[in-house]
Symmetry: C2
Subunit: 241 residues, 2 copies
DNA sequence: TCTTGTTAGATTGTCGACAATCTGCTTGTC
DNA sequence: GACAAGCAGATTGTCGACAATCTAACAAGA
C-alpha cells in the first residue's frame, strides 16, 4: 500500500455549490441583512431550477444565517446588538474550553499551523483586503477549536463563526476606513505558544472584548437609526420575528 | 385594544410537519442510527411528494441528526462513544454558563416553571413511560438555557439536546429494565432554588457525569461488538464517514 | 374617511416526470 | 476460477408546471 492519503473528492451536486455561493454572498455582505431572497430570480441567475436552490436555502436556514417565513419568503437574518452580545459572550466560553482542550495536544504541527495562519492574517492586512482579513483572522482564531479534538465543539464554533463573520463584514463595510495596520494577534499567538494556559485564556477573553465593543457600538447605532430601506432592489422585510 | 396576546399561528407547510415527524422518529429511536432513509418509500408512506420531504431532510442534516452522502443517500447519524463524550463535555461548559446567566434572572415564574417541569418528570417516571421520561428530563434541564436570555446559547443547547435525546433513547431501548424509580433531579432542583450558585454549577457537572458514565459504557460496548445489520429492512450503511 | 370585500399579480409550496449516478449481477474472456 | 466490461434495477438529483397563499391595489358601503 502506498502512503498517499486521498482527500474525498468534491461534492458535485448543484445544491452544494449553491450553498457555497449563497453563504459567501451573505458572509461578505453582498446580501444585506433583512434582504429577501427571491427564488425565481436567483434560480434564473444561477441557471438552476428552484428545487436545489430551495434545498440549499433550507440548509442555510438551519445554519442560522437565513430565516424563513412560510409563504412570505426567506430572508437574510437581521443583526441586532443583542445577537452580537449573545454570540460574543458564548464565544468566550467556547474559547476558554477550546484552549483548555487544545493545550495538552499542542505539538510542532500545531505551532507550524498557528504561524501559517498568523502570516496569512498579516499578509491580508498589508494588502488592505478587508474581506480576506476577516476570513483569515477567524481562521486563526478557529485553530484552537479545530485542534481541541471535539467535533461538537468545532461544529458549534463554526456556526457561531458564520454570524460573527457576517457582523464583521457589515461593520467593515460600513466604515470605509482602511483596516488597522498594527498586528493585534501578536500577543494571542505568543501566549498560545507559551506555557501559561490561564494567561492565554484570559487574553482570549480580553482581546475579543476589544473588537466586540466597537462592533456593538456600531450595531446599536444601526438600531437607533431605525430600519430604513435595505436591499439593493425592492427588499421586503420580515414582519416581526 | 384588548389585552390578549395572540401567539403566532402554527406553520402549516407539509415540510414543517415532515420535519417534526422525522425528528420524533429519530429521537425516539424508531429510526435507528446508521439506517438509511429511502425517499420514495417515506414519501409514499406520508402521502407527500419527494420535494418537501427532501427539504425537510436537508434541515435535519444541518440539525446534526442526519448525514447525507451525495447520490448514496441520507442516513441517521451513527452514535460513537467519542460523540457522546464530546457532547457531554461541551454540555457541562454550557450548563455552567447557563446557570451563571440565569442566576440573577430567577424569579417566581422561574421557580414555578422549574417545579412544573420537575413534576412532569416525576409523573413520567411513575408511569414508566421511558420515552416521555427522557423528554421531560431534558426539558427540565433545558430551563436554565431558556431562561439565560441568550438566543445563541439556547439554539446551541437545543442542537446538543437532539443528540443527547437520541443517545438516551438508544440506551433505554437497549436495556429493557424499567427506569430508575428514585428521583435523581431532587438535589438539582433544590440547588437551583437556593442561594449558592457555585454549588448548583458543581452539582450540574457531577449529576451529568452519573448518567454519562453509564451511557458511555453502553456506547463502547456497541462499538466493540462491531457494526451488525441495523435497520428493520434492507438498511444500507454509510461507508466511511 | 374609514372599513370591508374583491380581484389581479407575484411568490412560495408541492407535484410528477426525467436525467444522472450508484450498486450488484451477469457475461465473456483469459 | 479470476477478473474486467457491460447491463439492469434502484435511488438520488434536477427540472418544469401547477396549486396554494400572500400582498397590494381598488371598489363599495356605512
Amino acid at each position: 500500500m502506498g502512503k498517499l492519503d486521498f482527500s474525498p473528492i468534491a461534492d458535485t451536486t448543484r445544491r452544494a455549490e449553491i450553498v457555497a455561493l449563497l453563504r459567501r454572498a451573505i458572509l461578505t455582505g453582498q446580501l444585506e441583512p433583512g434582504q429577501k431572497l427571491n427564488e425565481l430570480r436567483i434560480s434564473e441567475q444561477m441557471r438552476v431550477s428552484r428545487a436545489p436552490l430551495r434545498e440549499a436555502m433550507r440548509e442555510l436556514v438551519q445554519e442560522g444565517i437565513l430565516t424563513s417565513i412560510p409563504y412570505a419568503g426567506t430572508f437574510v437574518i437581521d443583526v441586532t446588538a443583542k445577537d452580537i452580545d449573545d454570540a460574543y459572550s458564548l464565544n468566550k466560553v467556547l474559547d476558554e474550553f477550546a484552549i483548555e482542550r487544545t493545550w495538552p495536544l499542542r505539538d510542532q504541527r500545531f505551532f507550524d499551523e498557528l504561524d501559517r495562519r498568523h502570516t496569512a492574517v498579516k499578509q491580508a492586512t498589508r494588502e488592505l483586503d478587508t474581506t480576506r482579513q476577516i476570513e483569515t483572522a477567524l481562521q486563526l482564531h478557529g485553530l484552537i477549536h479545530e485542534w481541541a479534538d471535539n467535533s461538537v465543539l468545532l461544529e458549534t464554533w463554526q456556526r457561531l463563526t458564520s454570524r460573527l463573520q457576517m457582523y464583521f463584514a457589515l461593520h467593515q463595510r460600513a466604515r470605509n476606513e482602511p483596516v488597522p495596520a498594527e498586528d493585534v494577534h501578536e500577543t494571542y499567538v505568543r501566549l498560545l505558544m507559551g506555557s501559561d494556559m490561564r494567561a492565554a485564556q484570559r487574553h482570549a477573553k480580553e482581546h475579543i472584548d476589544l473588537d466586540f465593543e466597537e462592533l456593538l457600538a456600531y450595531a446599536r447605532g444601526l438600531e437607533q437609526r431605525g430600519s430604513k430601506g435595505a436591499g439593493a432592489d425592492r427588499a421586503g422585510r420580515p414582519k416581526g420575528g
